[in-house]
Amino acid sequence: MRQPQIIRSTTFHWALAVSGVFAVFVIVLFGFIYWQTDDYLIARSDRMIARQLNYITGLPSERRLIAIDEHLAQDSRGVQYAGLFGPDGRKMAGNLERFPPELTMNDFVQSITVVRMLAAGPQSHAIRAIARRLSDGNALVIGREVDETREISHVVGQALALGLLPALCLCLLAGAWLSMRAQKRVEEVNQRVQRIIAGDLRERLPHRNVDEPFSNLAVIVNGMLDEMEAMIHALAGVGNDIAHDLRTPLTRARLTLERGRTNATSLEQLQTVVDKAVANVDQSLAIITALLRLAEIENSRRSAAFGSVPLHEMLGEVGDIYEPIAENKKIDLRVDVRHRLSVRADRDLLFEAVANLVDNAIKFTPEGGKVEIELLRGDRETIVRVADTGSGISEQEREAVLRRFYRSDKIRNTPGVGLGLSLVAAIVKLHGFRLAIHSGAGGRLEIICPDPQPA
């Protein structure tokens, strides 16, 4: 099962493709080098024979015969050819028996075939040769065998071809090894993922501390798993909170109804009992409604209707709505808007968030206190600040207030379901804004809206 899997793997296919491309490249390179070498060697030998021809031509007639003999005598490998022929075609000197018939007397180096009489019999040779009619009417031929240059080219080609085979083998081996390695890691990851699917949320993917794609991916996935694990734990905690907060009013309703049924003796008494029970049921429903709203906001990532929201107008409106409520409680509600600032947001949601902050501030500020809504400009950010003179949020409570249903011990007796700040946090997160909770005397919460990054 293992072998075919490797052959099927993408890595292996890539290795094969690379080997193929490599082979083609080497063959083309070989061709090119062969052709270049051949060309170069022939050009060199052509220059040599042309020079020789010129040299001999330049000598006085009587010295030519000796020069030709000397030239041939120096050639130990027997690759040089030369011949001096009289005007009637009679051989005067050299190792050519007669003027080669293919050769034209035009001072250009040409490829011809000559037959050489050796002890072993006649042997034909491909040579490069040049011929010239001299001033005294004689014809001079100088030639040089090119089989030798061909041989050198062949050697070069063979060397390249020999190199090609091991290179290809190496490519295939590397491909197989890489693909096996990848296969192994995928297999390992798969086993761990299976364990995670089976419910072991603490399992993580293996990674080495090196900058390598596989490890980087594992780190990213592990980060995601951390986040998910935290969320699932939080969810379980929320489940318990919900159960507790829903049970309380339902238990009260049940007790009231039970006692009323046994003890009520008149219609009025029964109605009082039922009213109390209905109020408790309504409280449970309010909790469910708030929770569903929270879930809706947290899930509405895409459907949010974003547009430009003029914050200065919106804060004024929030102030208008809450002013009478603050006044009833003898709280001084002030809206301090010095700038005209807009942000990109879902107007209804942002309104809800700010309204919640103001609602909270008024609720938790004692009579005679002060609540201030401010619109500020920070360093590349717009800040909506809601500050009050209430008890504030202590350092220890800062994390907790964002949890669902958290109600500070200080405010246990104030009505509410304790979802307000979670709602604000969810809305703020949806917009990519930040919620800052400042500790110290008096409550001070800020929605910080960073300016959009120029694209």
């Binding site: 309010a286 409604t289 208008d320 009478p324 409520i325 919640n356 609602d359 009505p415 509410g416």
Partner: protein
């Protein structure tokens, strides 16, 4: 409010019409409401409450039958649950709207998300009520649908001694000028268009404050308290009435 004493017609056919005869004898045609709701217990409670308030109620437990009844009975108003066996509530409404049936429809649903609400209203529903709801709320909304203010070119609203000039944005009670803030004006305008009707807090929040959520604080009560303080001066007959646990009514006569 003239209440006709309870007469239940839970699923009676329309052919025989003792109810009609009774209404005709009482010189007033009974308002016919078609309820399409698959949960029989909920339906029974709604039917009983509506009957107590003098409505004639027809009940269908599924969408297909409901659509047939809507076509044949020509009800004055409809209450339609969203999730129904046979045919989905919104499909029923859509089908009726295509046939140019303009009967006002109140959509009931356990789906409370803002998106669901918007969808319900876009498909032709006139109002949307999320389950669970208080019966008082349901009745108030059905009444509101039945007595929707007619589009009028009238620029002055009048209820008893109360007068609202929509162009000048001024309010008067008799000769006394009432100084109103913009939102108070909008609230009074909404209430005067629906005088003698019970307006619940949720209705006011949705229509006047355009709130899509219910804030924890009793916002409506505080604002209504202020408006009442301005409208009902010392020694004057109160016009804005608080109906305990339900909402508010603007009435000319005490």
């Amino acid at each position: 409010m003239a209440l006709v004493s309870g007469k239940r017609t839970v699923s009676g056919s329309m052919g025989e019409s003792p109810a009609n005869a009774f209404a005709a004898a009482g010189n007033r045609l009974m308002t016919k409401v078609l309820l399409i709701e698959d949960d029989s217990e909920t339906a029974e409670e709604i039917t009983a409450e509506l009957s107590d308030r003098g409505f004639e109620v027809e009940w269908s437990a599924n969408g297909i039958e409901g659509l047939d009844k809507a076509r044949s009975l020509r009800p004055d108003a409809m209450i339609v649950d969203r999730l129904l066996p046979g045919m989905d509530g919104l499909t029923v409404i859509e089908a009726l709207r295509k046939e140019q049936v303009r009967t006002p429809v109140l959509v009931l649903s356990a789906l409370g998300a803002v998106d669901d609400r918007v969808r319900g209203l876009r498909m032709g529903g006139d109002d949307y009520l999320t389950k669970p709801f208080a019966l008082v709320e349901l009745i108030a909304r059905v009444e509101a649908l039945l007595r929707r203010p007619v589009e009028s070119r009238e620029t002055t609203l009048r209820v008893g001694p109360l007068e609202l000039d929509l162009i000048e944005r001024t309010a008067k009670r008799g000769d006394r000028v009432i100084d109103l803030l913009p939102r108070e004006f909008r609230l009074l305008e909404y209430m005067m268009q629906r005088s003698d009707q019970l307006l619940t807090r949720a209705m006011l929040l949705e229509e006047v404050w355009n709130y899509k959520f219910i804030p924890a604080t009793n916002l409506v009560d505080v604002h209504m308290g202020r408006l009442r303080h301005k409208v009902d001066g010392p020694g004057e007959t109160p016009m804005i009435h608080n109906v305990r646990g339900s909402g508010f009514i603007l009435r000319a006569a005490p």
